[in-house]
């Protein structure tokens, strides 16, 4: 190696100093997206919570069966999908490609089940006369507006996650993408799960007829 090449190498080494967080840039980017998205969900959930707690005659349209049971099944499915995603990331890090793809497929299927159950819940509410601006029970109409907008925002994240998982799985299978991409997508998927941990108690359990 010539002296100029060594000097050039040293220059690059100085320019490419390691990340202070010791993570890949795509993972840091995902973390920054997640905190901005967390603030978005925080804003809508805070707004809803104040409205819910401050309105004495707020409607409580959910009964334990079928709505809360459906919500519990949705929670179980989403939490389990986080577990399958963890298995996919672990397999990707160990270079077990077929195992990773199997666990990613399981995550995608669970995500689709969650979205289907969610939409089924929505259509039941539509059939009962609920909408963004209608309350068939009488009283404040904000329940429909808050419920459909917040759960809709979350459902949009789930559907986006399913699409992202499909793209990443295909890319990983064809060696276009690596284990780092699987891990980064896993971070997003866990965040979707994390948000549901607030959406379910605040929007379902708080609106259960007691």
């Amino acid at each position: 190696m010539s002296e100029s090449e060594i000097t050039l190498g040293a220059g690059h080494a100085a320019a490419m100093e390691p990340s202070p967080y010791a993570i890949q840039s795509k993972k840091l980017t995902m973390w920054l997206f997640i905190i901005s998205d967390a603030v978005t969900f925080g804003a809508v959930l805070f707004g809803y919570s104040y409205l819910r707690a401050g309105t004495p005659n707020w409607p409580t349209p959910f009964h334990f069966s079928p709505s809360i049971v459906n919500g519990l099944v949705m929670t179980f499915v989403l939490l389990t999908s986080s577990l399958t995603m963890l298995a996919a990331v672990a397999a990707a890090k160990q270079g077990r490609k077929s195992s990773c793809l199997l666990w990613m497929s399981a995550t995608i299927v669970l995500g689709i089940i969650f979205a289907t159950l969610h939409l089924r819940e929505w259509f039941h509410l539509f059939a009962d006369g609920w909408s963004l601006s209608k309350n068939p029970l009488g009283g404040p109409v904000q329940f429909g507006a808050t419920f459909f907008s917040i759960t809709g925002l979350h459902l949009m994240h789930v559907i986006s996650g399913i699409i992202a998982l499909i793209v990443i799985a295909i890319g990983y299978k064809t060696d276009w993408l690596d284990a780092g991409h699987v891990e980064t997508t896993g971070l997003y998927w866990h965040f979707v799960d994390l948000v549901w941990m607030f959406v379910f108690p605040l929007l379902y359990l708080m609106n259960t007829a007691r």
């Binding site: 202070p20 967080y21 010791a22 993570i23 890949q24 973390w31 905190i35 967390a38 603030v39 925080g42 804003a43 805070f46 707004g47 919570s49 104040y50 409205l51 819910r52 707690a53 401050g54 707020w58 334990f64 809360i68 519990l72 929670t75 179980f76 939490l79 389990t80 986080s82 577990l83 963890l86 298995a87 672990a90 890090k93 971070l187 866990h190 965040f191 799960d193 994390l194 941990m197 607030f198 379910f200 108690p201 605040l202 359990l205 708080m206 259960t208 007691r210």
Partner: protein, 102 residues
């Protein structure tokens, strides 16, 4: 980069998953008690924050990253949410100041 050896295995993940399901069970049980709206909201929020913390630290591996990642991200989010909490109560003032509906 993160050392994968430091991270928990699937057995630990399954234990955490069971723990999270138990918290969801407690939340559902609380709903059956005749708690006031404010008390139920506070209880559910507390449990949701515990669940989110566990998911953040273990499922999202924040516990196994360098501490400066945690300190760069989490206090900023808490600060923003805390400041939002100062703005929302203003909605009550607006409700009281508005012209009564005839």
């Amino acid at each position: 980069m993160t050392d994968p050896k430091q991270q928990p295995g699937m057995k630990e993940y399954i234990a955490i998953w069971v723990g999270l399901l138990c918290i969801v069970g407690i939340e559902t049980f609380l709903t059956t008690l005749q708690l006031s709206t404010h008390r139920l909201l506070a209880s559910l929020l507390l449990l949701a924050f515990i669940e989110a913390g566990i998911a953040l630290l273990y499922f999202m591996h924040l516990k196994y990253e360098k501490p400066n990642l945690f300190w760069s991200l989490v206090p900023a989010v808490i600060f923003v949410l805390f400041m939002m909490n100062h703005i929302w109560p203003d909605a009550y003032r607006m409700l009281n100041l508005r012209v009564p509906i005839q």
